[in-house]
Amino acid sequence: MQYRRHQLANGLEILAECNPVAHAMACGFFVRTGARDETPEIGGVSHFLEHMVFKGTPNRTAEQVNRELDEMGSHSNARTGEESTIYHATVLPDFQSSVVEVLADIMRPSLREDDFETEKKVIIEEIKMYDDQPPYGGHERIMSEFFGDHPLGQSVLGTVETVAGLTPDKMNEYFQRRYSPGNIALAAAGNVDFDKLVADCEKFCGTWSSFEADRELVPASPRTGFVTMHKPESTQQYLIQLARGPSSHDQDRFASRVLTTILGDDSGSRMYWEFLDSGLAEAAGMGNYEYDGAGLVLTFICCAPEQAQDNLKRIRQLQQDALTRPITGKELEQAKRKIAAHIILSSERTESRMFSIGAQWLKKQPFMTPAEIAAQYEAVTLEQVNEVASRYPLFDNMTLSVGPQCELAPPQ
């Protein structure tokens, strides 16, 4: 296993973890741009652009792009989040050059008017699909309530109205502002021929012109409160809470993730015993989300509407107990073993390694191997876990309730 990196003159970085015995190779363009880089008027443009990237270039029609990716037997997809957009594919090693060529080409899309209008309909269908799925837009709502006017409160999908109002010109303006090669990395993993990868990138991406695309970081001032969305046709009640957590550069993030594993993992955690083992909830858990300059811990519970008020009280108690009933050595060891096993399992997949390398670059973190990441968790002490529990109190949160029950109140 060898880790290699190279930077083109225009700023594009190439990062790879080369494993000559892997069955496949995965690569992806990681762009440091997402919903937080939009203004409210162009809400959803990052995600719409991600779709449009597959709709053709001066060299290829949309049909050709899809056809060529299929001809390689690639597993390809793309994703957009609050601060990143990723275009990726996994192929058998023989197709490395071909897949890099297609991915590189689509990173300079044509944004043709007729394709734009057709794809706009697809995006609107996607928005409607999520509107029908639990928690029925609740995530967008609570992010907006939690972050207020901060760019991280911006919805990834946008709304039917903002998407309908987008034009190819506005999208192109956004593209010209964000898709600078200095703001993009190609991450690869698996059976990678690195020298060939660099040569291909030079050939296909070397002419991309560079410009300033830094993100202006605005300090976040997360808010607390209690919000209700009435959804009478829903069967279950969905409770979501956001509390402050470590950012992507904060060394506390390892201890915080250990803490959320202890409190809110899907098995064997304190929430598991409180809500899942007892059947008080259909789903319950916690997760960390780390951004550039801000972080949060999400707590969620899905349960019968008549159980929701009691569950709100129970989750508050559990969050307070994290301070008054400190984490034990046994809980810590169990969480560490679980995390270590998870790292072993996930690191066997080439695609998962590519995402790990790319995500580290996106977050401007140093490269770490799976063993080094595991070591970071192993080094977490009981004191650190209990410290983050008090530094980021989970009960100090924004709560959103979605469902048929509209009489819920914050627990006292």
Partner: protein, 481 residues
Amino acid sequence: MSGSRKKAVLKTFCSGRVKHRYTGHNFVRNSFCPISKRVGGAPMVSLAHCGWVPPKTHCSMTTNQQIRTHQLANGMTVVGELMPWLESAAFSFSIPAGCQYDPGNKAGLANFVCEMVQRGCGALDSRQYIERLEWLGIDYSSSASVFHTHFSGAMPAAQLFEAFEVYRDVLRDPVIPEDQLEEGRAVCFQEIRSIEDDLAQRVMLQLRKRQYGDPCGRWSQGSMESVASITVDDIGEFFQRYYQPQGLILSVAGKIEWDSLLEKIEQLFGDWQPNPPEPVEDTGAVKGVLHIPFDSQQSHIAVACSALPYRHENYFLARGAVGVLSDGMSSRLFHNLREKQGLCYTVFASLHSVLNQACVVGYVGTSSERAQQSLDALVGQFVELRRGVQQDELDRLKVQIRSSLVMQQESSRSRAGSIAGDWFHLGRARTLTEVTELINGLTVERLNEFVAANPFDNFNLVTLGPEPLELNHAVPSASAG
């Protein structure tokens, strides 16, 4: 995140966080499509919801892929795949104690039993059991399907034998604590409720029920009423009758050593006495149109028609036909409905087998005002297929399937699932080389002959949304070519 000891149902709370270009049909939880591939590609095969094939008595090793099988004297089969390049191992116990054995008024019993046998076993109480699994680093799950109850896990390979020791007690010596009956029931209730909010899932479950009849079309959760009526005696009786080794498939893949593994399995399960269950007859399939009125943003539309099951010699012709419809972004459904017309975000077709029965399922989710147009377009593509496929479509499909097969080699969990499915359907495990040869053997001529002689028609339709839809498709007049 979900369920108690079963964790079979996932709810995406953070669906707002990251948006993908497409989601395939992964979101339709396990109802028809247990294995997904890219843009709603057809699953190769899955053990879930399948019937039972009596195992052959043999111990074999096939090709350099190192798939091995062994049958214990009591009828339990061990299928293993040695993957020495991995650090992990994965296993799946598929015990022939599925919901097909639920009595008529006790629907949900097998699922409830699956929950209760994991509330303490051997010397471990309920909490100690979970703590033990956690300590071993097992990513575990369990579920009941029509023909089996499954207990699966993946973990660092060094802990595999200790995991087997725990599962020996789950299968043979559970506590079934009466004082936890109501907690277990509450978990089962939650699972039933969760289906109600998953509109696409509701449509798929209804379609499955109508297409296959009973018991193949059952879902394992039962109803609130039936689960409410289940007693601890029902659970104990079901366990006593159906938790037995005849027909049980244990599949193991990853970094394993075969001889010592067999020794361990013999030690843990060799003295378990068989008690073969009685066969259950199929009844009650329904054809036609069903609409579920619902005030939703989108209409959820699913069609099904009969197809060839995995065990059929011409299965891969049907698989090829469905692949042309739905494998990849250049497939006909994605290209015509989404890329060209922008009718939908999600559209797919997939092939599904339940031992001797099989069907192809098509799904599209779209705005109500374009629902009829989308249904016509979906069915139109199925009908159009009888005109034949093109060489380039078949070429792309072959590369995609071969690529997927190779990539399976990265995952012990994936291979453990595949070899279990193969054993169940075929009574043996196919090697990747064999599957590749079957795929390579597909030609346009054979495929076109097949789609002309076996057209997809006589559809079942289930819709959910504000308005009912009509199934009106015209058979194209031109002949295949």
